[in-house]
Subunit: 356 residues, 2 copies
Amino acid sequence: MQLPLKNDLFLRACRGEKTERPPVWIMRQAGRYMPEYQEIRKKTSFLGLCKTPDLAAQATMLPIEMLGVDAAILFSDILIPVEAMGMELHFSEHKGPSFPHPVQGRQDVDRLLVPDPVSHTGFVAEAIREINKRLAGRVPLIGFSGAPFTLATYMVEGEISKDFSRVKQMMFSDPATLHTLLDRITETVIRYLEMQIEAGIHAYQIFDTWAGSLSPVHYRSFALPYVRRIVDSLKRYGIPSILYVNGSCSLLEDMVTAGTDVVSVDWRMSLSNVRERVPPAIAIQGNLDPVSLLGSPEILKEEARRVMEEMEGRSGYIFNLGHGILPSTPVSMAQYLVSLVQKGPDVPMPHHAGRR
Amino acid sequence: MQLPLKNDLFLRACRGEKTERPPVWIMRQAGRYMPEYQEIRKKTSFLGLCKTPDLAAQATMLPIEMLGVDAAILFSDILIPVEAMGMELHFSEHKGPSFPHPVQGRQDVDRLLVPDPVSHTGFVAEAIREINKRLAGRVPLIGFSGAPFTLATYMVEGEISKDFSRVKQMMFSDPATLHTLLDRITETVIRYLEMQIEAGIHAYQIFDTWAGSLSPVHYRSFALPYVRRIVDSLKRYGIPSILYVNGSCSLLEDMVTAGTDVVSVDWRMSLSNVRERVPPAIAIQGNLDPVSLLGSPEILKEEARRVMEEMEGRSGYIFNLGHGILPSTPVSMAQYLVSLVQKGPDVPMPHHAGRR
């Protein structure tokens, strides 16, 4: 049913192939930094946007049209399937997501559903079909899900946390309950990603953003096995998978055993170190510091050059940031970055980039 | 002038010697988790406490009396010398420290003083003398300072930051101004630590807490050289030095070149990995996850055992947490941890530890 892709650089790099240049996309590439996104967002709430296929598709298309990135990523939120598990979810402009009734113990876990994805989150499948129509094969579409541990942090903390002390307190006092919670999330995520794949995504990324708060021994117990189970369950579809962890320096050797085709790393590591530690068959994605897009174009050019030099000659490399693009990023700087990767260091620099 | 120490385990471990057991102290060991600290704190503001030698000495002594740790650490705050540089400083119970007039550019940097430590922060020297009187040689006293990069993050961000985007924006747009700021902070820190050493501390720790937000290449340019300059300047005093960085996994090989006797690491790394990477002449401090003190005593015992096993047979090891103790920690769990390290796994477990 899918159209042949006009630009399959991203998929080839995911499969570990050597590409003429690195494909480039940007985590959170459709987001608050774009005035055009703000316009779409005015029409509804953040959750409303995620749940309206037409608007989600509009948002997804913005970076394709405005930056010319080599892959689209579904506009959605990692907490969408968690809400479907039966947890009341709020978003506020300043504090981000919150669960007014966080998971505090066994009883709360037992109340959670493993929702049927189509009846609870069918709007995501619809958005995917709508996006693919609009993309018309220009670039591949990436689907995604939060990883079980990262989703559990939100569910137990109830809001964005500085030290993850609630979820880790559960880990250090009642690990069995945390494992039950992670198990239920894992089942949910598998079905949720199956739905996305059946709707037409070309690859998927698992965001285990907060697993970098764990020591390696706890990562191996409370994060990695659940990601591995998801990846194993979806292998039969044969589409590429990416695992992202923020702060993964001490976890890298474990991360690569999750079985994804790509590991995505943050900016705290040098890619020369990463390529030494990741087997050649696994592709690497990353890792420019998102703050470098808030600085001068001269320094951005230098930073992008360094990142690409560190990966020079390495097959299977996807250029990206080390974390999501910041809301205060000037669009012109994001455009400049994409051009630098696609066309080289001589592309013209933006003027007046210093917007905050 | 200093009394001979009755317990010099900590200093011997700092010097890389093999000790009968690891010495133990806890970052922020005198702090909000202790009701006795809250009592002292009621008498004045947080800054008032730091600036009243008698009260600072009282707070410093609490963990010596209540936990029996092997080292005292001066009760103070890393921002004390920054205030003395001419920056208005506020502390609020909920939001922590803030600078209402953060450093935004060259002009703000040029206005900063390199203060004379005795006339601006003499209360710190007085507190040190008072603490040593009370300690009467029982255990050594650790002095400390924030590292230049970490102090600069507070000065530029103006408050606790999630992504350090302001200070890094300066790094990516006007690195010369950031270097000038770091240079000025470095001079201030050297004089400030000289004063502490002359007042009688037995060792000092440099907290480069937020340097872990930098990529290795930026760490080598904006953090490491300034720490090295401080350590070099103070070498003539011959007292041990410790460098702490939170999230230092990708920086460890650089950190050890700062010249401190000890590197202090957070819980995200396994100590077996750390000991492979740190030369044997340099001591290691860390690295229990502070959240493990909020869990069950059984699991805490297991966690402490694992950490100690990873360092078994390694000379120059100091037991500590990977970050400061959390305000919600039950005192009984901190006491239990210290006993586990000092007396072994058979010490009695605390009852009713589940306080939050």
